[in-house]
């Protein structure tokens, strides 16, 4: 019985822009195992965001397949929808400014009928507890929260559906260093507690190095390197990966020396 949760095979996405075509994702194949923490890295135009959107069903694929637990991903299937959830980059725009935190968090519970109506409030409070917040936040609005708090709410919302996989798009890029560390530690804790699988889409290589066991490097729509994170950083094979690692601004000499 394989441990592989998600299999992507020959996935391609082509956008029509005016008279020309843009191949955003070019024949990409990889697998993600249960409890993996995979980072997909690349610069702008690498296709990493489009790839995430394809897995989430926000974009439709041009060719190839995405299989979850050996079944083709069908986004009209509500059961399947629950299993893959998403946390966005920009904490401010990911929460409806007109809704209270309670209203935002109860939505997935209601849609998927995760629990009976009278238990919803308790469930929401439990979700807040996973992200180290309490019931005082229920009636608040996003504008009164800090970036770190909003990001926690986004994470709580992703947990509401009891997913198997959570995809994070630059989850901490908009946050200050100290808050970033807290949130990353929180994510590690939740992953452990709830037996989750993570996919990170990011350009921050130092974060990748610290939190993921597998790294996929993308450039211009193609995968140029894919391996255990340790290997990718210590002995990268592709020239592009080497250049990427060399460009990271480091703060210690030891890090500089470790570059390829």
């Amino acid at each position: 019985m394989s441990n592989t949760l998600l299999i992507v095979e020959n996935l391609t996405k082509i956008f029509k822009v005016g008279m020309s075509k843009v191949i955003a994702v070019d024949d990409v194949s990889f697998g993600i195992d249960k409890n993996d923490s995979v980072s997909i890295v690349g610069e702008s135009g690498s296709g990493k965001t489009t790839l995430a959107n394809l897995i989430l069903g926000v974009e439709t694929l041009t060719s190839g397949s995405i299989k979850f637990e050996d079944k083709e991903l069908d986004f009209k299937n509500k059961e399947l929808r629950k299993k893959i959830q998403f946390v966005q980059q920009n904490p401010l725009s990911s929460l409806n400014p007109k809704k209270t935190i309670f209203q935002t968090l109860e939505l997935p519970l209601k849609i998927h009928q995760i629990c009976p109506k009278k238990e919803i409030r308790d469930r929401v409070i439990k979700l807040l507890q996973y992200v180290d917040l309490n019931e005082n936040y229920l009636e608040r609005h996003p504008y009164s929260l800090s970036g770190g708090q909003r990001q926690r709410i986004s994470i709580a919302r992703a947990l509401a559906c009891e997913p198997e996989i959570i995809i994070f798009d630059e989850p901490t890029s908009a946050l200050d260093v100290l808050i970033q560390l807290k949130i990353l530690n929180l994510l590690a804790e939740i992953k452990e507690k709830l037996n989750l699988t993570y996919i990170f889409i990011t350009h921050d290589l130092a974060v990748v190095r610290n939190i993921s066991n597998k790294t996929i490097v993308m450039n211009k729509g193609k995968i140029v390197e894919m391996n255990n994170t340790k290997k990718v950083f210590e002995s990268p094979e592709s020239e592009y990966t080497k250049e990427l690692i060399r460009s990271i601004p480091t703060i210690t000499d030891a890090e500089e020396k470790s570059k390829p």
Partner: protein, 284 residues
């Protein structure tokens, strides 16, 4: 020779809930030819500092105290027409997002002309294009003629930022302020742009105030660093001293908290949630 000297600058904003003190009596010096970095997180007041130097904040809700001396002129006491003279001419600025800082309606050449004409009508129309081409070559743009005739949306992020840098150089300023100049750029592009900035500034013997939250960028670029937190400068020293032996607990915590590329675990902090302001400023 000290070019810019901020002395006990205090800035308060009046708004609905009362008064917020954005800067609490900060002092900062930049010498000729020096590259100084002002490092801090969001809400630290670093961007306010840059905008106060150039008089870019509108006046109605601001209370200010202290002095900003630029070559012995107190910029805070100057009239707005005199500040306009200095702004863009002696002191110029580079902003974070190059594509939105450039006017989408005009070509690069037109905007460079505008930047020039704001300060002098006295240039030779025949040689001015060559001057612009040379400036673009200075920032390592390989096809300067094409770029001169392009619009902002036709340029990549890195290209647009290089154009911004060359526009900042047009009137041969003595000081350049750069507010998060590479934050919006890809990491490989960032490396190139930083090295271009360093090269051009050293060659032309200019000074720079770099505002950033990215300690890695600052380490590669600056000679001297000021660490600012909630409107107060907590540490001041040469780049080497700050990174090798940080004196203030806030600086130490920041440096610890940044993920390192030679470690497969998240950093752990010696101490957390401290009242950083209770420790006085550390000067190396």
């Amino acid at each position: 020779m000290t070019l810019l000297s901020i002395r006990n600058l205090e800035v308060q904003f009046k708004h609905y809930e009362g008064v917020t003190t954005a800067l609490k009596k900060i002092s900062l010096d930049i010498k000729e030819g020096e590259k100084v970095a002002l490092v801090g997180e969001s809400g630290s007041g670093k961007s306010v500092t840059a905008r106060m130097i150039l008089g870019l904040l509108s006046n109605s809700n601001i209370k200010k105290n202290g002095e900003i001396f630029f070559e012995n002129i107190d910029l805070l006491k100057e009239s707005s027409s005199q500040i306009k003279q200095i702004r863009g001419n002696e002191i110029s600025m580079i902003f974070q997002d190059p594509v939105s800082s450039l006017n989408p309606y005009f070509t690069v050449k037109k905007q460079m002309l505008q930047a020039l004409e704001n300060h002098t009508k006295d240039y030779d129309k025949n040689t001015i294009e060559k001057y612009f081409v040379d400036l673009l070559k200075d920032v390592k743009i390989e096809d300067p003629e094409r770029v001169l005739n392009s619009y902002a949306f036709q340029l990549s992020g890195g290209m647009a930022q290089r154009v911004m840098i060359s526009m900042a150089l047009i009137n041969n300023p003595k000081l350049i302020l750069a507010d998060e100049p590479t934050t919006a750029l890809d990491v490989t592009v960032q490396k190139k742009v930083l090295s271009i900035m360093k090269d051009v500034i050293s060659r032309k013997k200019m000074s720079m105030l770099l505002i950033s939250h990215n300690l890695g960028v600052v380490r590669e670029f600056a000679d001297k660093i000021y660490v600012i937190y909630q409107g107060t400068i907590l540490e001041e020293g040469s780049t080497e001293k700050i990174f090798n032996s940080p004196g203030h607990i806030y600086t130490q915590t920041l440096l610890q908290a940044i993920p390192k590329i030679n470690s497969s675990k998240l950093p752990s902090l010696d101490s957390e949630n401290l009242d950083y302001l209770s420790q006085p400023k550390f000067t190396h």
